[in-house]
Symmetry: C2
Subunit: 489 residues, 2 copies
């Protein structure tokens, strides 16, 4: 089974698609650019959602739900936002089909059911939400308003790839309103920190927190903060963004509040989101040529018990006892009693699917009162006494979680390279990849020129970036700090 | 505050809208027929979703996610289903907007970005899902396939009402595939029972399980099972449906499996769903002229502690201690420390919002070592010793849950009336309302004639309906059983 995966060294992109397919995470659909998220992929998303949702609630946010459709006149109200998304909007123009009189059994769009105003399928919800907030916010007592939404959004992408870039995707979008600029900025950074915490502690994916340059900013934002991760092929992945929106949406939708001095003021805004794209990041941070590798905290199945060669009263008894004990410790575990497949086949299958820990129990194990425990991350196997296996596995899951993070962090840290000339820049980008830390003169023109020449973009200006005098790697003009470049997904 | 609600006796429909608005459950939106689900309304939905999701998983189902859009050619493949939904489909015809050269800052649909094939926004997902199942199902080993999806769907309704009938709504839709007709029928009934269990034990809403007549059947189903509830105004609410789809979708999408005798057979299907409509049912089962009444198991906030007249060291100490104890018992509780509102105002507000239990603590209570506990369902107040209040409240929540169910069941049972003449039928319908149990000759013509004459429809033929010879209340023709009629939402 593992043989069917293209090795990473041969073709990273083909490897990625193989993992998505063989680990049963997603499927193509009949709709251009839209994927079907299969049960295993969706179970990972559920675990992500539950963890994030808890973190949002712990920071004072509540969930709500706003309409899928945005009337065109609202969509265009905040001009930069509208301009940024106009090119990738699915548009509903009619509300009825009718029988095609020329082709029996076929339907056509009923021209009589044309909408007076077209509806945009939300690519993001600032417009519809801020149009609603106008009614919800009157006074400073209504602030801050801290709302999150779990939803599907649609962006008509021309080149798609499962999880990483799809026409429809699932995400959460936080939309908050504040009395002051300071509070809104604090919120923007607070949620960036929540994302970084989630990425590192649940996904075991180290991230760099930073701020985007103007040209990479969210359409309609004053500042876009981001977390950037590094994939195994040396390309960066923008894993989450948190936007300080200033008063742009408040002005576009006339959202004012009465401050404590009885004066009308425009409200300050933030928005922040992560999406099913994170699953792509998870795959490309940890997995290997044998299949998916999942951090235990997000793995739908954490431990599988496989009998060798087959089930039977004695093996069943031991396996079920271990299973019950693992479950009582809150571990997601299963005993595989399918006698139609050989254990070797099962081993490969569970490796492919990224189950963090496998326990094998054979007849000799029963005699010796032992089991064999294999960990997915390092492929190491250890023989453990039956009496201590549950405790061992509980600790092992934590160790795997930590090891995956450490491994990814070491790789990431080794792939941040300081360069001081443009030749070195190009050379490192082509041979080693990863993040390139280089001086930049701060102009969009230089940023664009570097992108045209190398396909590398400025991923972010790291937060708390050390200030250091230097000269721009491209223009030779003075620069006060290094920024991080990379090719990106 | 409570004064602002229209009394039920005056105008039930206005009362319903008042509750939705004053209890902050939902808002109208800028999109025709689409609502905004506000945080309190969404928190109820989250509680419903979590409880149902657990029940689905306990019965062997897994979640997945399928595309929002259905290409027209797939949509029309199962003809009855397509015909049933064609009249209420939102249709995406274009994938891009562009600047309107005649009106600065405005956008128009880009005519160059017309889709070759229109996309229907899913009104239900049988088509897109069965088109996918063709690839997932080859052999009997792939069956049963037990998948559920939590999603938004769109049905272009002309007359809408928050929760009860909206253009976009949230729901879950289960779609299962089976090797035999018997298994599929068993699944259909199993999920009907899950819905009934949920309605009665979480929503405290008694339901009648039954099967729909042909004319009320889901488009594309062989049989539609349903749970029917009775609202306070004597109208019925279809609260959930479970469909036996036979081989209709398997044939439309060519989904076959190799059986154990190595023969190709069409797969058997079910689908089942409940939606945010349940929140409408919840409101109309329990609430009163003072506001929302919620069963404790679904209430976002179960207990509120209100200080009288204000907070202070001593009251805070007692309140926080009770709060911590309640939380440690898994109860969703809050201590209201807002000193800008008077306690009387708060009492009315929490009644309006349906918080099941209120604990009031005043200075005299501190002296007497007591607190006052008020229950929302009966409005009774009891003075309780501080030492036993946590235990008392834990039990009280269970008692309220049970009382709400009993009260609703008594009302429902008193509103099932056997009638034997059409005059009596009309009279009971107009004066008493509720379910009318009457003989029916089994023909769609009679069903239609009764509907035209009275607006009452056959809600269901109850499962395990006693067989009883009689004559049709309308046509006088022979009938073997009574069926349940009602006016319905």
């Amino acid at each position: 089974m593992a043989k069917e995966i293209t090795p990473r060294a041969e073709d990273y992109s083909a490897w990625y698609l193989d993992i998505v397919k063989k680990a049963q995470l997603a499927d193509n659909s009949a709709v251009r650019g839209c994927m079907v998220i299969k049960p295993t992929g969706y179970a990972i998303w559920e675990n992500m959602r539950d963890a994030l949702d808890r973190m949002f609630k712990d920071t004072g946010h509540v969930n709500a739900y706003f309409p899928l459709f945005v009337p065109k006149s609202l969509f265009e109200a905040e001009e930069k936002n509208a301009e940024g998304f106009a090119k990738e909007c699915a548009v509903v123009t009619h509300y009825r089909l009718k029988a095609d009189t020329e082709h029996k059994g076929k339907l056509i769009v009923d021209p009589a059911a044309k909408l007076e105003e077209e509806l945009v399928v939300r690519p993001t919800s600032e417009a519809i939400i801020w149009n609603t907030y106008r009614d919800w916010i009157q006074s400073y007592r209504d602030l801050p308003l801290l709302i999150n939404q779990w939803a599907n959004v649609v962006r008509w992408e021309m080149r798609t790839r499962p999880f990483l870039r799809t026409a429809e995707f699932l995400w959460q979008e936080g939309h908050t309103a504040h009395a002051t600029s300071e509070e809104a900025r604090e919120e923007t950074v607070r949620m960036l920190n929540v994302y970084a915490d989630f990425a590192e502690n649940f996904m075991a994916m180290p991230v760099i927190k930073g701020v985007k340059t103007e040209s990479e900013r969210f359409a309609g934002a004053e500042d876009t903060y981001c977390i950037e991760a590094l994939m195994q092929d040396g390309k960066a992945l923008q894993a989450g963004t948190s936007h300080f929106l200033g008063q742009n949406f408040a002005k576009a939708f006339e959202v004012k509040y009465l401050n404590s001095q009885n004066q009308q003021e425009y409200v300050w805004a933030t928005s922040w989101g992560v999406s099913t794209r994170l699953i792509g990041g998870l795959i490309m941070t940890h997995s290997d040529d044998d299949g998916l590798v999942l951090p235990p905290r997000l793995a739908p199945l954490q431990v599988v018990i496989v009998p060798i060669p087959t089930t039977g009263d004695v093996v069943d008894g031991v396996a079920n006892s271990i299973l019950d004990n693992l479950k009582s410790r809150g571990i997601r575990a299963k005993y595989d009693t399918d006698d139609t497949k050989r254990s070797g086949f099962k081993f490969a299958e569970y490796e492919m699917r990224g189950v963090p820990v496998r326990i094998a129990i054979g007849k000799r194990d029963i005699e010796n009162n032992t089991v064999e425990v294999a960990r997915r991350d390092t492929k190491e196997k250890t023989v453990i006494s039956m009496n201590s296996v549950v405790e061992y596995v509980v600790n092992l899951l934590e160790e795997i979680q930590q090891n995956l993070f450490n491994r990814a962090k070491q790789y990431r840290d080794e792939h941040i390279t300081n360069v001081d000339t443009f030749d070195e820049f190009k050379n490192v980008l082509e041979t080693k990849g990863g993040f390139i830390s280089a001086h930049w003169d701060g102009t969009p023109e230089t940023e664009e020129a570097i992108k045209d020449a190398t396909k590398a973009t400025i991923r972010c200006i790291p937060l708390d970036n050390p200030q250091e005098q230097g000269v721009c790697v491209y223009s030779g003009k003075p620069s006060a700090q290094r920024v991080l470049f990379a090719k990106a997904y």
